[in-house]
């Protein structure tokens, strides 16, 4: 019988043929450590007297959650991270302002198709956009991987999700992803590999695939993996990398626990309402929903095409009075490209404020915490109670165009009403 993508990638890591349900020990191709967990890596090393790292070349450290440091405690943690990198010869340290780990590791070509990557961040699943298997782990596991170079994993069962068609004007990858979350629910893919295919991928960029795969963890997924195809090959050709092969794409006779099919013709702008990501409805079902803050950024939707989509809505206009619009590019490269293409100037002219590349306001740590009673429309991936720093605030999730359209009117708004009018 054939294998799923997850079974193929984990078989290579295990050094033997494995199937769903098997336990393996192995070392990921890369393991990424972030500032919000690195203080605990240091704590485990002290606790257990570790003074050597097994594979420093497989580790990268990113400062993205506390960038730039907003409290002395966070500044100290950045200090701890810098010391650990120097002490253990870790040469891949991505500093304050470089950007979000998932974004930087794909845009730099560091992560390649078919690789297995762990990171102390649940949205590592985003790496499935390039046909890699990425998953979040805890910090005890991270420190253990640094020290011993191996960790236990279970090979997941898989879901086959086929999406056919092409996204229509004003409808984006985020709307497609939210449509899938609505159907499968927040627990529809727990500990499973979501394996995507279908004709939609012929016209879905790597950035759009990142948005799609990113939301996989909001259904409980371990991996969300897009097919390795002509789009993937063209992407790596930019790095003069012609060696992309598609051997980790799932076999046609692989075993799946369930099959789902979607047609893009039925997908419209969608919004997820408080306080769970699978509380999804068409934007038009939320008339007169007032917002106080709009937030554009994150590993879900903080890339150049996202900033451009927002700029297309806002061009020549001003955001509504009483609304603040925070834009956080996902990386320095995104920031630079948005300057070069003029998207950033359009956003600033419309009244947006631009912050340091990184995770920004998404997790409610800094750079855009909400006040009591406020509502925010965000391009991010989570709207749990208290998510953006205040349990008495509400977070709605939508596409970058929906975020921008809502900032214009002060109410949650279908972006097609703005785009069609211009």
């Amino acid at each position: 019988m054939g294998q799923t993508s997850a079974e193929k990638i984990m078989s290579r890591i295990a050094g033997r043929t494995v199937s769903a349900g098997d336990f393996i020990e192995g070392c990921p191709d890369f393991t990424f450590s972030l500032d919000d967990g690195i203080g605990l890596v240091d704590r485990y090393f002290r606790l257990y007297g570790i003074n050597k790292v097994r594979y420093p070349e497989r580790i990268a450290v990113f400062f993205d959650h506390y960038a730039p440091a907003d409290t002395p405690l966070h500044a100290n943690i950045h200090g701890i991270g810098r010391v650990l990198c120097r002490r253990f010869g870790i040469d891949k340290l991505f500093e304050v302002g470089d950007g979000i780990s998932h974004q930087v590791s794909i845009e730099s070509g560091l992560v390649r198709p078919g690789q297995f990557v762990t990171n102390t961040d649940s949205h590592t699943i985003t790496l499935g956009a390039v046909g890699a298997a990425g998953c979040g782990i805890g910090v005890a596991e991270m420190a253990y991987l640094w020290a011993h170079g191996v960790l236990w994993f279970q090979v997941p069962t898989a879901l086959r999700v086929v999406i056919n068609g092409r996204l229509t004007a004003g409808v984006y990858a985020k709307d497609l992803a939210l449509t899938i979350v609505q159907r499968l629910s927040a627990r529809g893919a727990i500990y499973q590999s979501i394996e995507y295919s279908g004709s939609v991928f012929d016209s879905l960029s790597i950035s759009e695939r990142m948005t799609l795969c990113n939301l996989g963890v909001e259904m409980g997924g371990k991996f969300a993996i897009a097919p390795i195809d002509a789009v993937t090959r063209a992407y790596y050709a930019h790095f003069s990398d012609q060696s992309v092969d598609d051997s980790t794409n799932a076999d046609s006779d692989a075993h799946y626990a369930a099959h789902y099919q979607f047609d893009t013709a039925a997908v419209v702008p969608m919004v997820s309402s408080p306080h769970s990501v699978d509380n999804v409805a068409p934007v038009t079902d939320l008339p007169n929903t007032e917002i106080h803050q709009a937030f554009l950024g994150t590993c879900t939707n903080g890339r150049l095409d996202d900033l451009q989509a927002a700029a297309a809505v806002l061009k020549g206009k001003r955001i509504a009075s009483g609304v603040r619009f925070i834009v956080t590019p996902a990386s320095r490269e995104v920031y630079k490209a948005a300057i070069e293409t003029g998207a950033l100037a359009t956003l600033v002219d419309a009244g947006c404020v631009i912050t340091t590349p990184g995770c920004g306001a998404c997790a409610g740590i800094h750079q855009g915490v909400l006040a009591e009673g406020e509502a925010c429309i965000a391009s991010s991936s989570r709207n749990f109670l208290g998510r953006m720093g205040n349990k008495d605030a509400r977070v709605f999730l939508g596409s970058p165009a929906t975020v921008a359209a809502s900032a214009l009117t002060g109410r949650i708004t279908d972006p097609r009403t703005i785009l069609n009018a211009t």
Binding site: F23, D36, G37, S122, G138, A140, K391
Partner: protein
């Protein structure tokens, strides 16, 4: 592993932003993390937590972020056991690898809030007011880690030199 404890019942899809808000992630010691556990639910809920060493939940407990604090803050509070109909993957791993007993079992609809339960995690047996109940214990490699008190306390096999 036999755990006898009073139960705090919670619902479905309890997420890690509720269990441990992200702005406290730089708090590293479990005893200090305990203060922030379930902060969005308010002080009366938090005080219930300190007197209920077992949490019994519905589906998808611990969904969301990978933050290990969501496990260690509960351990800092003295929580010994979490039973749920299902766990999010990362919370489940973090629990096993930190030595917090987790049981995947449909108890939520069989017991009352504050009821005293006795659970044998390794044998898959729960004694409730309404009688005994069997469940599938964790897979042997995971039970082994749990019984040693977590990943770091589990001896590494010496054969093979890996």
């Amino acid at each position: 592993m036999q755990i006898k404890a009073h139960v705090l019942r919670v619902g479905d899809d309890i997420d890690t932003d509720v269990i441990f808000p992200a702005r406290y992630l730089s708090v590293l010691e479990p005893k200090e993390q305990a203060r922030y556990a379930f902060e969005p639910y308010g002080e009366s809920f938090q005080s219930r937590l300190t007197s209920s060493p077992a949490i019994v939940a519905g589906w998808n407990f611990g969904c969301g972020s990978s933050r290990e604090h969501a496990v260690t803050c509960l351990m800092g509070l003295g929580i010994q056991l979490v039973v749920a109909k299902s766990f999010s993957r990362i919370f489940f791993r973090n629990a096993v690898n930190n030595g917090l007993a987790v049981v995947v079992c449909d108890l939520a609809d069989r017991i009352q809030d504050d009821e005293l339960i006795s659970v044998n995690v390794a044998k898959g047996k729960a004694d409730l007011a309404g009688g005994s109940f069997q469940f599938t214990p964790l897979a042997p490699p995971l039970l082994n880690i749990l019984q040693h008190g977590g990943l770091w306390k589990t001896p590494r096999p010496s054969a093979g030199g890996q």
